[in-house]
């Protein structure tokens, strides 16, 4: 099996509990509540290696630590890119940081999207809302090695046209001859000329070989709950569906149990799971 960036960087860092200082080199506003930060190590210039789907723990000094998926290109070792939605105390504090500010970083952690396993298959990338951020490194990886995959389809759902994440890149990807991109929104006015409806409706319109397709799904859990039956219905089996789960991760190495999901820890055994391994837990409300 050929080595890719997806397989190269899943080993834990030397001391996974010690945050390493990183400096913010760029802050870009993506949406009203979502922003992207680029980080470089404050000391030394060792390239940061990660696999698509992994996350880092970002520490805002004096405030706290949060798990954030890496949203940049795995081929770009010079900087670490995260796209963050401000939803709580730490992410609000991150949003207030400016270029030049320092944060602590632990990582990368977690299981990646299994891009080695999807080689030769049609790849369905299904994202909703800010769930496109953890999928973006996988998209870069697939496009960097485009000849290894069959048809590549990206289905993305957002709340409104103003909430479409990475709009410029979506338009660029849509302009490629070797990728199918479709975007829908839950609500719109007449000025929006694209589809309106839930992202699961796009899947049915895809035009791919469902029996030889692998799906990477990330978004609100309720979206994934509806996406999986739709995928099953058109012929994508559960062992070819991979979902990225979100839980309250604290230690990121499976010590503390905050992110326990049945018998698994989302930080260590996930966040990316093959769906058939968690299907029995997926609809258990207490989890």
């Amino acid at each position: 099996m050929p080595a890719t960036a997806a397989t190269a960087a899943t080993a834990l860092p030397a001391d996974p509990m010690v945050p390493v200082p990183y400096r913010i080199t760029r802050v870009a506003r993506e949406l009203s509540d979502t922003f992207t930060v680029d980080l470089v190590p404050a000391r030394g210039k060792a390239p940061f290696r990660f696999a698509p789907g992994q996350f880092n723990m970002l520490y805002v000094y004096g405030v706290g630590e949060v798990p954030i998926s890496i949203s940049g290109d795995p081929a770009d070792g010079a900087r670490v890119r995260h796209t963050i939605r401000a939803v709580g105390t730490v992410t609000d504090a991150l949003r207030r940081l400016k270029k030049g500010a320092m944060v602590g970083l632990r990582g990368p952690f977690g299981t990646p999207w299994p891009l080695d396993l999807t080689e030769g298959c049609d790849v369905l990338i299904i994202g909703g809302g800010v769930g496109l951020a953890p999928l973006r490194p996988a998209i870069y990886e697939v496009l960097n090695n485009r000849d290894r995959y069959g048809k590549v389809c990206l289905f993305y759902g957002a709340r409104t046209p103003d909430d479409i994440l990475f709009r410029g890149e979506l338009e660029k990807w849509r302009g490629r001859f070797d990728m199918f991109v479709d975007v829908t929104v839950d609500r719109a006015t007449g000025r929006w000329a694209g589809p309106v409806g839930v992202v699961t409706q796009l899947i049915r319109r895809g035009g791919f070989d469902a029996y030889h397709a692998c799906a990477l799904v990330c978004g609100p859990e309720v979206m994934m709950r509806f996406a999986v039956p739709t995928l099953n219905e058109i012929g994508v089996a559960n062992d070819r569906i991979f979902v990225s789960m979100e839980r309250n991760m604290k230690c990121a190495v499976g010590f503390c149990g905050h992110c326990q999901f049945g018998g698994a820890f989302v930080c260590k055994d996930g966040p990316v799971f093959r769906y058939d391994t968690i299907s029995k837990l997926f609809n258990v409300r207490e989890l």
């Binding site: 759902g157 957002a158 839950d186 309106v196 409806g197 839930v198 509806f226």
Partner: protein, 159 residues
């Protein structure tokens, strides 16, 4: 005698009628008509008589709701291979939303009065068609619920 061969072929190509018995499809084809709408053109408006339903052969149709003082709200879009319009089955047979062609649309319309007459003559035909409508209605209802819960929005305690 009304020639229905062309309409029959168009219905046979459409997923909504997949697997329908040939004889029944010929009967339904007798109520069908080809229609074309330019981008921006309204197919029907809320409150008008719902005397048809539509199969989309090409293009995208926006189903819209007019709220006074606001821009038109698009509730859903319907695409090639899909259908829209079931107000013709439910009294008082008036449209409850607007339908607008977002781009050039080629549709097949089925005349409601004609269909209802055929159903009266052959209840099993009505049952066959209803069985095709119900999954579409259930899927749209499920999608509408998902849209309603605002799943991509901020958690309620952050709004």
């Amino acid at each position: 005698m009304v020639k229905t061969g062309g309409m029959y072929d168009l219905l046979a190509e459409h997923p909504f009628f997949a697997g329908m018995d040939k004889g029944r499809m010929e009967v339904v084809a007798g109520c069908a008509m080809n229609e074309r709408f330019e981008a921006g053109q309204y197919i029907f408006h809320e409150g008008e008589s719902a005397d048809k339903f539509y199969l989309v052969r090409h293009g995208m149709v926006a189903l819209e709701f007019h709220v006074p003082g606001r821009e038109q709200t698009v509730l859903d879009t319907v695409h090639k291979g899909e259908i829209f319009g079931w107000s013709w089955m439910v009294s008082p047979y008036t449209w409850s939303f607007d339908a607008r062609a977002v781009e050039l649309c080629r549709l097949v319309s089925l005349d409601a009065k004609c269909l209802r007459g055929k159903f009266d003559a052959d209840n099993s035909l009505g049952y066959d068609l209803l069985r095709r409508f119900i999954p579409v209605m259930a899927e749209r209802l499920s999608a509408a619920r998902m849209q309603m819960i605002d799943m991509y929005g901020q958690p309620p305690d952050r709004k």
